[in-house]
Amino acid sequence: MKRAARYVIFYAALLALWTLLAKLKIWPPYLFPTPWGVAESLYAGFQDHTYWIAIRVSMQRVLIGYGISVVLGMILGLGVASNKFLEDTMGGLLVSLQSLPSICWWPLALLWFGLNQNAILFVVIMGSLLSVTLAMEDGRKQMPKIFGQAGRNLGAKGIKLFWYVLLPASLPFIVSGLKQGWAFAWRSLITAEMLYLSLGLGQVLMMGRDLNDMSAVIAVMLLIIAIGYIIDGVVFKAMERHLQNKWGLAPAN
């Protein structure tokens, strides 16, 4: 209860400050919109289905891109973790590549895939693949050896060993990496959508800019924050809680 009260007070104060600044008219309204202007934009955007369509398109892209990243990243990470040669060679490369913002792949993606959805997917994958790979590599190393030994001892090998033992055993250690991968995927997607106009939230955001409609820009920003937060706070939280219940402790502490 106390926490909820603190939340309400904080956001009410923030909103009040915003309203005050807008009321003072220090900046013209098209540069500094009012809260109700943003609310109107949000309402209108949902009303004429623009936002619904944008959300659907963006979610579809990020889910496909992130899904591919997770599968590829796990295989890659496991390979790097279990092979000394790969670890020595690829390990360093992966870490150094992570300092490259994923949007830097955009020019290459355009050349390779053309101006279409695949180019966006490529940027999303490049954004999140490394996080997942590094997390999986790290998780595989942190995971107690005994699980792999017990699994092999009980007759699990190859793909079965991976699916039934190594993957679930490393999950608590890679959840944070998966979460980070999701955040990167989401950011990369919005960036790519802003550069290439083809539906999606990023495009709607840029449209607001082109029309000098700052209310719409902020409305879409709020949407992007909300979706990112919901996935993080709902989907990943549920996953973490589920793992904690099973394992009996906060595993990746």
Partner: protein, 314 residues
């Protein structure tokens, strides 16, 4: 193989009194069961022939961990391997389990060289190695699932083995909800559920409190009687070895060699408190003392050399 072992246990139900002859009778048919073994000397269930294992340390020198270890274990036998820490006794179990390979020598099971892990030999770890993401039931079913045993049969066997370790009520629990002793019992049920011929136990009770350990000793002895499995049990506790084993094998400290073997013919069921057990344990400990001192010296290499005086427990 597994069907054979089960047949034996059906044919010879729990021998209550007298223990020793019942065991002897049980061993006979198991060996004769192998057609190739009926002529000459019976082939050992597990045979270690001149096993050597060496590895390179981080400083680059070669370290000999196991030195020409030879040991023959009969089917249905309960063999305990004792030695100071660092004698390579756990490593030896890993070799039999096929989780590592030896540098030279042969590990034979039923006369065939071991090539990698197999569900005819199941290892029970000191830290139990249960899967925390699975329920007790799913843990016990795991080995059968890997083998492709149909679901209905899996569940039936899972229930059977959980009853055997008195954990039938905990099917749906997760591992972290169990006590240390219960975890070890689940580990035993999980191992038995794959119906291995050989149970390899790596100090399974070392981390448990004394009461729980006593209880598990009784249960293990009973399960061994009921299932007729071959058990190779590694421990650093001499009394535990004497209390459980048909034979106690003593390993030396670094490199591990077989120092001596003690056949234990005390009547079963035994107890840790039996004077005969204590007496025999003292005999074994007498032999072991030098090795323990050597291992302690190595640990306190900085010049301190604590010795165990005669009569003290390790």
């Amino acid at each position: 193989m597994s069907t054979k072992a089960r047949a034996v246990s059906h044919q010879y139900p729990i021998p209550i009194e007298p223990r020793a002859p019942a065991r002897a009778a049980k061993l006979g048919p198991v060996c004769v069961g192998h057609s190739d073994a009926s002529q000459a000397a019976p082939i050992a269930k597990v045979g270690l022939n001149e096993i050597c294992l060496s590895y390179r340390t981080q400083t680059g020198e070669r370290l000999l961990a196991l030195d020409h270890i030879s040991l023959q274990v009969r089917a249905g036998e309960f063999v305990c391997i004792v030695g100071p820490s660092g004698c390579g006794k756990s490593t030896l179990l890993h070799l039999i389990a096929g989780l590592h390979s030896q540098t030279s020598g042969q590990v034979l099971v039923d006369g065939h060289p071991v090539q990698g892990p197999g569900t005819d030999r199941i290892l029970i770890f000191q830290e139990h190695g249960l899967f925390p993401w699975l329920t007790v039931a799913e843990n016990v079913e795991f080995g059968m699932k890997m083998k492709g045993v149909p679901r209905a049969e899996r569940i039936e066997k899972m229930r059977h083995y959980l009853r055997l370790v008195h954990l039938a009520k905990f099917e749906k629990s997760y591992i972290h909800q169990l006590s240390g002793g219960m975890k070890q019992r689940v580990a035993i049920a999980r191992a038995l559920a794959t119906e291995p011929d050989v149970l390899l136990m790596d100090e399974p009770f070392a981390a448990l409190d004394a009461q729980t350990r006593d209880l598990l000793h009784d249960e293990l002895e009973r399960i061994w009687n009921e299932t007729g499995r071959t058990i190779i049990f590694v421990t650093h506790n001499v009394r535990e070895a004497v209390r459980l084993g048909d034979r106690v094998v003593l390993l030396t400290f670094r490199p591990g060699r077989v120092k001596s073997e003690f056949p234990i013919s005390l009547a079963r069921p035994r107890s840790l408190e039996d004077p005969e057990v204590a007496l025999t344990a003292r005999e074994v400990l007498e032999e072991l003392r030098d090795e323990i001192n050597r291992s302690l010296e190595a640990e306190y290499a900085a010049g301190v050399k604590p010795h165990i005086a005669p009569g003290e427990e390790a």
